[in-house]
């Protein structure tokens, strides 16, 4: 399946784009999505250990599964305020 991933902040800057499409084998976990992200876009690898993933507007853990039409966002730890 293909999933669209939005990137923010340093993740966006490292990748050089604000979104990309990943090809994953179902069923795919968030952990597998992160690995695929590192393969597709090596510039993001330094950020992977800290990378946060949201599906819709909820944070998700590495073990959760990703559905094909999920609204996925990846970004570094937040630093607002």
């Amino acid at each position: 399946m293909n999933v669209a991933v939005r990137l923010f902040a340093r993740a966006r800057k490292l990748a050089g784009t604000d979104s990309l499409v990943l090809t994953l084998t179902e069923p795919a976990s968030v952990r597998q999505l992160k690995e695929r992200l590192g393969e597709t876009c090596p510039a993001l690898r330094p950020l992977l250990p800290q990378l946060l993933v949201a599906v819709g507007t909820d944070y998700v853990t590495d073990d959760m599964l990703v559905a094909a039409n999920s609204d996925i966002a990846c970004f570094p730890p937040v630093s607002g305020g």
Binding site: P49, V60, P77
Partner: protein, 160 residues
């Protein structure tokens, strides 16, 4: 009563929105662009958000504060874009019948906002370099510590 804006924050308007004759106490918190950080001089900050999620998270924080303290009203506004020294990046106001609750809820709101609301800042140092601010992430640690069984039994993602 949560908002993202690219204009200067009108914190008096925000404060008026939470004032009430049911409340004897109002606490307003302002985060402002500080010049010196660990001995380095900032000239400006650039704020970026994942806006749809940031709004939802800010509203969840207000709702959670309302369940934890007997507050009358809460409001949060976060600014995005380039902010110069001294400008207000975030304003939050909370009202309650008694002051202890207003102080505690206000502290909770800004502490949790800095943990879970998807907003990021980039430093513009006076030497011409820029740098994304990366705090140690409470959220990364929390997500990493969750067991799969808990997640599955729970049937929903952990958000805060």
């Amino acid at each position: 009563m949560v908002r993202l804006t690219r204009e200067p924050i009108d914190y008096a308007a925000l404060t008026e929105r939470v004032r009430s004759s049911q409340a004897g106490a109002v606490v307003l918190f302002l985060g402002t662009v500080r010049e010196m950080t660990a001995g380095r001089r900032t000239i400006a900050l650039d704020y970026e958000a994942y806006p749809e999620m940031a709004i939802i998270k800010m509203q969840q924080l207000c709702d959670e504060a309302s369940t934890r303290w007997p507050i009358t009203a809460a409001a949060i506004e976060h600014r995005l874009g380039r902010l110069e020294l001294g400008e207000i990046s975030v304003a939050l106001a909370v009202s309650s019948p008694h002051r202890a609750d207003a102080f505690e809820a206000g502290r909770f709101l800004i502490d949790r906002l800095k943990e879970i609301v998807p907003v990021w800042k980039q430093e513009n140092w006076d030497d011409g370099t820029t740098e994304w601010v990366h705090p140690d992430s409470t959220m990364t640690a929390k997500l990493a510590m969750q067991s799969p069984s808990h997640e599955e039994a729970d049937g929903r993602s952990e958000t805060n």
